[in-house]
Structures are given as structure tokens and as C-alpha cells.
């Protein structure tokens, strides 16, 4: 079997997207931890454009950007399919994946900022959560229907990183009474065995990101 390597960093939700899909499809891989403060030659060689993790290296060829990596994995290893077969349903799945990619950064802006900038990021985040709950999820158990698919994976960072941002910044974003369906989805998603077994330790994650936010704010 051809070699699969994954360059990543343990607290990154983008790295975890790839871990979840590799494990859901039963693909063996070698994990290579990257120090983002001291990027290694392998990372710079395989992702010269963005210089970011995650990067998947398969038979020596590199693929960058988490959702692009997931489309690649889906094509090469179609077992346990994570995209609909019907072209229209597939288009709608891709629409919501793009929505997640475009709008999730608002939550990270809440994490990175304070004052007026943060207030705007909070508004953008709430708008995104409303649209997600109302239009993307609706009354389904998962975004993929009865079982998870790439759309669930795309929104996967809500499972733990959303709460981390709330706890670190003391800003409540996902109020369960206002977003009951999303809250239920988070609970269901975290119970999926592969997801449950592959989440970073919350306390460690909280400490890591708390320190990171303090550094960001003090450098302004």
C-alpha cells in the first residue's frame, strides 16, 4: 500500500478534519507533528504557497488545505463514502462546505480580537450560527442526514473549539436555548465513535489557546 503521511499540529481543528476522515475510512497513515513557530523543511517544501498545516503526502505527492485534502481522500478511497452520489445533493453538500469555510473564520476573529473588532466578529458568528441551524441543519440528525458526511466534518470544529473560544474569551456564542438543533448536533457528533476517540484533551487545549490569545492581545 502506498505511503500516507499527514503533517499537522495537535490543537488544530483543520488537522483533526483530516484525522477523522482517514480513520472513518480505515486508512493507515504516519503523523508528523509540525512546530508552527519553527516550520520544518518538509512543510515548506510541500506547501510553498500557504506554508500551513494540514498537508497530506500520498506516494510523495502533496495535497494542501483540509477540505481539498478531504475531496482527494474521498476520490482515492471511496469506501464509507462521505459525499452524496446524486449530483444535486453533492452540489448542496459542497455549497455548505464552502459556507463553513467562508464563515467559520468569524469565530476565530472573536478569539483573536477585542473591542469593536470583536463585537463585529460576534455579530458575524451569530449570523453564521443562525443560517447553519435554520438552513443547513434544519431538523436532520446530522448535516449528512442519518449519518455524518463531509459537511459534518467541515462544521466539526463546533464540537469542541467553539466552546474553547467561548471559555477563553468569556463570550457566549452558542446559547442552547437559541440554537437547540445545533446543540443537539454537537452532542450527537461527539458521540460518533471515531470522533469521540479523536478529540484533543479539553483542558490542555484550553490552556494552549488561552496562552495564545494573551500573546495575541499583548502584542497589539
Amino acid at each position: 500500500m502506498a505511503e500516507v503521511k499527514l503533517l499537522g499540529t495537535w490543537p488544530s481543528p483543520f488537522y483533526y478534519r483530516v484525522v477523522w476522515v482517514l480513520k472513518l475510512k480505515g486508512i493507515a497513515y504516519e503523523f508528523i507533528e509540525e512546530d508552527l513557530n519553527n516550520k520544518g523543511p518538509l512543510l515548506l517544501q510541500h506547501n510553498p504557497v500557504h506554508k500551513k498545516i494540514p498537508v497530506l503526502i500520498h506516494s510523495g505527492k502533496s495535497i494542501c488545505e483540509s477540505m481539498i485534502i478531504l475531496e482527494y481522500i474521498q476520490e482515492i478511497w471511496p469506501q464509507n463514502s462521505l459525499l452524496p452520489t446524486d449530483p444535486y445533493d453533492r452540489a448542496i453538500a459542497r455549497f455548505w462546505i464552502k459556507f463553513a469555510e467562508d464563515k467559520l473564520p468569524a469565530i476565530w476573529m472573536v478569539f483573536r480580537t477585542s473591542g469593536e473588532e470583536q463585537k463585529k466578529a460576534i455579530r458575524d458568528s451569530l449570523e453564521m450560527l443562525e443560517t447553519t441551524e435554520e438552513h443547513a441543519l434544519g431538523d436532520k440528525t446530522f448535516f449528512g442526514g442519518d449519518k455524518i458526511d463531509l459537511v459534518d466534518i467541515a462544521f466539526g470544529q463546533h464540537s469542541q473549539w467553539l466552546q474553547m473560544v467561548e471559555d477563553v474569551t468569556h463570550v457566549k456564542l452558542l446559547d442552547a436555548s437559541k440554537f437547540p438543533r445545533l446543540q443537539r448536533w454537537i452532542n450527537n457528533f461527539k458521540q460518533v465513535p471515531i470522533i469521540k476517540e479523536n478529540l484533543p484533551d479539553y483542558q490542555e487545549m484550553f490552556a494552549y489557546f488561552k496562552a495564545h490569545r494573551e500573546m495575541l492581545l499583548s502584542s497589539k
Partner: protein, 262 residues
């Protein structure tokens, strides 16, 4: 055949992406021009999240967002394929399409700003063009390799709109010295767009402005007066034929009415 409608706008490069893909595959569709200052109920119903064109409506089901539409067209009408067969190459095509989409706000910054900010914005856009030329296009004929693909269609706006925007904003970009490979690609891409009409059995009369000698710039002035743009490609329909068919008057009065509304 199932009904296929494209809700678009004449000035939008996103709209054209879909047109080019449909024409490349020889797929028949009905085009519906949307007034972006007075969006139709159909558009708002078909794209409630973003309320934007283009939207492709196939057998009553709407697909919004130009890049999503392109993948849908490729999935549904696989003839004249626009994505490579090899999975890694397909992935690279998608990577570059995403790069263009993610960086779009930076690309357009020079157009929305003035003074110092515009200088900065222009520089950032040029750096992006450099990355695209170096890593995306390289020494290939097209982003897709030897033939046009989805990535070329996604970047088609560079070939057809960047000059217009730059001139309108008063900056210079995409000169032959600065990005020779990208400039060469832009010319090849424009050629492909012209030949798409030929494939449909429509014989366009193609006027090469730079082959007209001194009349070229004069004609360009006339074009600018007619269309508000000096750059090409520009497509003109045979108005004389429309007149003889009795269709010209209603078209003109519709156009006049729209102009008054705006």
C-alpha cells in the same frame, strides 16, 4: 430534456464562468438576465442565503455559487471534460480554484480604494498574480494543462475583466513585461472564448482591433461610447437582422425602460 435556466447578469464574471462551461459542453439552457438593483422573486427564492447570481436551475432545483455550479455541470454532463482524470491533478485544479476564491477580496482591493491604500492594494494583487503565474500556471498552456479546464474558467476574469477594472481604477496591471506567462495565457483564453461561438455553428465576424491600422483606435473610441468599455472581447449581435425580424424595437424599448429604472 429537463429544463435548464441560468440566472445571470451581463456584467458579472461569475455569470460568465457558468456560460463558458455550458457552452463548452454544448448544453442548451435558457438565460435569464437579472437586474441586480431589483432582484426577481425567482432569484430570491432560488438563493435565499446569498441572494446572488449566478444560479443554475435544473429541473426546478437551484444550484447557487459559480464554483459549485461548475462542479455540478461537470458531474451532470461529463462530455468535454473540464477536470483531469488523475485524482491528484483534479485536486490541484480544485486547490487553485479555491485559492482564487479565497483571495478575491485582496484582488479587488485596488478597485475599491484610493491613495496609499490603493498603492498597497495594487501591490498585494500583483503578488497574488505572481503566485498564480509561478505555482498555478507555470509553463503550461492552460491551468488545465494542454486544454482549457475549470481552473481556467475560474480565472477567466483575469483575462477579460482585470484590464477593465484596472483602467477604471487608474492603475496598471498585467502588462506584458510583468507577467508574461499569465498575459500569454490570457490571450489564449480569449481566443478559446471566441471559438466557443464558432462551435455552436454561429459564425461570428471577428474584428481584430490591432489589425485595423489607424482605424483601430477610432473604432475603439466608438466601442467605448457604445458600451462604456475599451477592452475586448466584446460581442455584438446583428442589429440589422433583428430590425428585419421586427424584434429590434421591443428590445430597444425594454433596454430604455431598464435604463430609466436604474
Amino acid at each position: 430534456m429537463e429544463e435548464l435556466k441560468l440566472l445571470g447578469n451581463w456584467a458579472s464574471p461569475f455569470s460568465y464562468r457558468v456560460l463558458w462551461a455550458l457552452k463548452h459542453k454544448g448544453v442548451k439552457y435558457e438565460y435569464v438576465e437579472e437586474d441586480l438593483f431589483n432582484k426577481s422573486e425567482l432569484l430570491l427564492r432560488c438563493n435565499p442565503i446569498h441572494k446572488q447570481i449566478p444560479v443554475l436551475v435544473h429541473a426546478g432545483k437551484p444550484v447557487p455559487e459559480s464554483i459549485i455550479i461548475l462542479e455540478y455541470i461537470e458531474d451532470t454532463w461529463p462530455q468535454n471534460s473540464l477536470l483531469p482524470l488523475d485524482p491528484h491533478e483534479r485536486t490541484m485544479a480544485r486547490f487553485w480554484i479555491k485559492f482564487g476564491e479565497d483571495k478575491a477580496p485582496i484582488f479587488y482591493k485596488f478597485f475599491h480604494t484610493v491613495g496609499e491604500e490603493q498603492v498597497k492594494g495594487t501591490k498585494e494583487a500583483e503578488e497574488l498574480l505572481k503566485t498564480i503565474e509561478e505555482y498555478g500556471l507555470g509553463d503550461k498552456e492552460f491551468f488545465g494543462g494542454e486544454e482549457l479546464g475549470l481552473t481556467d474558467i475560474a480565472y477567466g476574469w483575469i483575462a477579460c475583466w482585470l484590464d477593465v477594472l484596472a483602467e477604471a481604477a487608474g492603475v496598471e496591471m498585467l502588462g506584458p513585461q510583468s507577467f508574461p506567462r499569465l498575459q500569454a495565457w490570457a490571450e489564449r483564453f480569449s481566443s478559446e472564448v471566441k471559438s466557443l461561438f464558432k462551435k455552436l455553428g454561429v459564425e461570428p465576424l471577428v474584428i481584430e482591433l490591432d489589425e485595423l491600422g489607424p482605424q483601430g483606435p477610432q473604432l475603439q473610441n466608438v466601442l467605448e461610447g457604445l458600451t462604456g468599455q475599451r477592452t475586448v472581447p466584446n460581442v455584438f449581435i446583428d442589429t440589422v437582422e433583428l430590425y428585419h425580424n421586427g424584434e429590434l424595437e421591443s428590445l430597444l424599448s425594454d433596454a430604455n425602460a431598464k435604463r430609466k429604472e436604474n
